[in-house]
């Protein structure tokens, strides 16, 4: 959590396109210290339009990455999609404390639940602590949206696909949550859009997970 960098210009190293609308932006680390779960505020240099993105890379990587999905009417996500290696990026942060408690637990003993690009903070956590005892339930529309699945321990991740039957579970992640085996001792971390988080919170509480073991980060 020792934030060395507050606001600076970073250099783009690589843009990795995962699908037509989703990409990973890799840029210089500039010795920034961060904890998994923290986010950065990004934009083109000099622009007043900046957006928050969770850090996707791990604490031991010598670069920084964020996972971005281009959204309709999304000014920054479209601007950044056209950025090229060597271009500059304005970066503020790191901010936040979403996974602070999880990062202090060694080994993990945590359940992560995400939808879409909400997987980013958990990817950062797993990259940072690959030996931790995590479980990840991740909801996407189809298998193509299951990004970088080989970065996770296969036995620890359950991919729920709502629009094809290529995942570990065919259907919405909330449908899976209704029947999944839940360890009441594990802290639960939810990240994604607010509707998914609200539905999942209701299910978790109905299934006996205490509210004080549930942590959320809403993507907007």
């Amino acid at each position: 959590m020792n934030a060395k960098v507050e606001q600076a210009t970073f250099v783009i190293e690589k843009v990795r396109h995962l699908t037509e609308s989703t990409y990973v932006l890799r840029f210089s680390r500039n010795e920034m210290k961060f904890s998994p779960g923290q986010h950065l505020v990004l934009g083109l240099p000099g622009s007043t339009e900046l957006r928050e993105y969770s850090i996707y890379s791990g604490v031991n990587d010598d670069f920084l990455e964020v996972l971005i999905k281009e959204v309709d009417e999304g000014l920054v996500s479209r601007q950044l999609k056209n950025i090229r290696s060597g271009d500059q990026l304005e970066v503020r942060g790191p901010y936040g404390f979403f996974l602070t408690r999880a990062s202090k637990q060694d080994p993990g003993g945590v359940l992560f639940i995400s939808s879409g690009t909400g997987i980013a903070p958990f990817h950062s956590f797993v990259r940072s602590f690959p030996e931790s005892d995590y479980r990840l339930i991740h909801g996407v529309r189809n298998l193509e949206e299951g990004y970088d699945l080989d970065h996770y321990q296969r036995a620890y991740i359950t991919l729920c696909t709502s629009r094809d039957d290529q995942g570990d579970f065919s259907g919405r992640l909330t449908d899976h949550l209704l029947e999944a085996e839940l360890d009441p001792e594990r802290d639960v971390y939810l990240c994604g859009n607010s509707n998914m988080i609200f539905d999942a919170m209701d299910i978790l509480r109905a299934r006996g997970i205490p509210q004080n073991q549930i942590f959320t980060e809403v993507y907007f």
Partner: protein, 458 residues
């Protein structure tokens, strides 16, 4: 050479304003109570509500018209969103963040206002993170002789989705505890009666220093000890804490030290867990409830204040009713209820403002009705009791003075002796009305005053 400074917004801005006054007076400029006769005019802006920003635009338009027939220099600082900053650059002569206030003499000098004092102040190229520290090092020109603010922290890392503070004031930076103790000690020696520790999230004090600074609980404890050792009477407040960082040791310490006032301002914002998630408050209603239970157990005499937003994006009637339930359950002494308005720069600005204005007004009214009931309940229980009160000034009602109890409940009482202002006195509470109470001076206080007056006549 005269200057006029308009301060909008919160106590943090008022505190920052006290330092700007010091800088300008240090340059040899004279303060003016109105902008009519001033040569230099400035605003400390607030971006929390659109109304405050509208006021800035109206004011600067007036000043710029005045420039057609007089020499006037304008500046703006404070909480400014990036979009507004771009516009202000075209409207004001100087736009700068509070962290650069120590460069103000240099900036003013570049406009040709060169007083002998200003010429002696060198330009200092202090690194960015150090600059906020240099602001704190400026001795403030306090607005009051008995109430003072002490900034302990600047900025915010919490990123509540309705708020733009992280974008206007930057990330949390804690002021060194040694400086805080020094300022508090100075205020104690100058017989200040009410000292308020200020910050956007006071109870995350020290967390940005990675273990190299004490935490909030220890900071309070040390200030509590300063009080005990001083032998003087004063109350220390803090605002605002975030429920997420409210630890039980803070309550233990408040309980242990009499100078730490038994009044807690704990923003709730909403009584609905899903709205709290959407606001990115990072705590649930249950967690808030546990803190309140801790307050009621450890500080049974403490008053409890809160902030609530009604009509947040997507708030349904059912969710609003849960906030009403929470208001009834927590029985606040005071609640600052605001209608939600999307702020450019805050994350929620990108969401639809779904609740109609008339519904927001109704919801606000409903919560204020509940507040009126719970506050009346608390205040009625004070009737007949003797309360220690800090007298703060003359009341609007002729023949009355006003003051605050330790729990910051407004009091008025029949008296006209201005010598009481800024002093503590004992009042017997005789009645209550909504959010305030009325009292009369305890007989022993009346006798003491009569003796003082007699001595003066002799």
């Amino acid at each position: 050479m005269r200057y006029y400074l308009m301060t909008l917004g919160c106590q943090m801005n008022l505190s920052d304003g006290e330092r700007i006054h010091s800088v300008l007076k240090g340059m040899g400029l004279e303060q003016s109570d109105s902008d009519e006769n001033a040569d230099l005019v400035g605003i400390i802006a607030c971006s929390v509500r659109q109304k405050a920003i509208d006021k800035v635009y109206n004011q600067v338009a007036r000043w710029n018209r005045k420039k057609n027939h007089s020499n006037l220099i304008t500046f703006i600082s404070g909480c400014i969103l990036p979009d507004d900053r771009e516009r202000f650059l075209k409207l004001f002569d100087m736009v700068f963040p509070m962290s650069e206030v120590n460069h103000l003499p240099e900036m003013i000098r570049s406009y040709g206002i060169a007083s002998p004092a200003s010429l002696e102040i060198p330009f200092s190229g202090i690194p960015k993170n150090e600059q906020i520290f240099s602001l704190w090092n400026i001795q403030p020109s306090y607005r009051s002789t008995f109430e003072a603010f002490v900034p302990i922290q600047n900025g915010c890392n919490k990123f509540c989705t309705f708020c733009a503070v992280p974008y206007t004031r930057g990330r949390e930076v804690s002021r060194p505890s040694s400086e805080i103790f020094q300022q508090v000690q100075d205020l104690i020696e100058r017989n200040y009666r009410s000292i308020t520790l200020l910050g956007q999230n006071v109870n995350s004090y020290g967390l940005d220093k990675g273990g190299k600074e004490i935490g909030f609980a220890q900071l309070l404890e040390e200030i509590g000890k300063l009080g005990t050792n001083s032998g003087k009477e004063f109350w220390v407040y803090f605002t605002s804490p975030h429920p997420r960082d409210m630890t039980s040791d803070v309550l233990d310490i408040i309980s242990a030290y009499p100078h730490l006032a038994k009044q807690i301002h704990l923003p709730l914002q909403s009584g609905d867990d899903k709205i709290l998630v959407k606001m990115n408050r990072n705590h649930s209603l249950e967690q808030y409830r546990e803190i309140v239970q801790g307050i009621r157990t450890k500080l049974p005499e403490a008053t409890l204040f809160t902030d609530i937003i009604v009509g947040f994006s997507g708030e349904t009637e059912a969710q609003h009713r849960r906030t009403m339930d929470a208001m009834n359950e927590f029985s606040f002494n005071m609640a600052y209820v605001a209608q939600y308005s999307p702020r450019p720069g805050a994350a929620s600005f990108r969401w639809e403002d779904t609740v109609l204005k008339e519904d927001k007004r109704r919801r606000l009214h409903q919560l204020n009705e509940i507040l009126s009931t719970t506050a009346s309940l608390h205040n009625s229980a004070l009737v007949g009791k003797t309360c220690r009160v800090l007298v703060t000034g003359t009341d609007r009602l002729p023949g009355y003075l006003k003051g605050l109890t330790e729990g910051k409940i407004n009091v008025r009482f029949p008296a006209t002796q201005l010598s009481l202002v800024g002093e503590f006195t004992d009042l017997i509470i005789t009645g209550y009305s909504g959010l305030s109470v009325e009292g009369k001076m305890a007989p022993i206080q009346v006798a003491a005053l009569a003796t003082d007056e007699l001595n003066l006549q002799l």
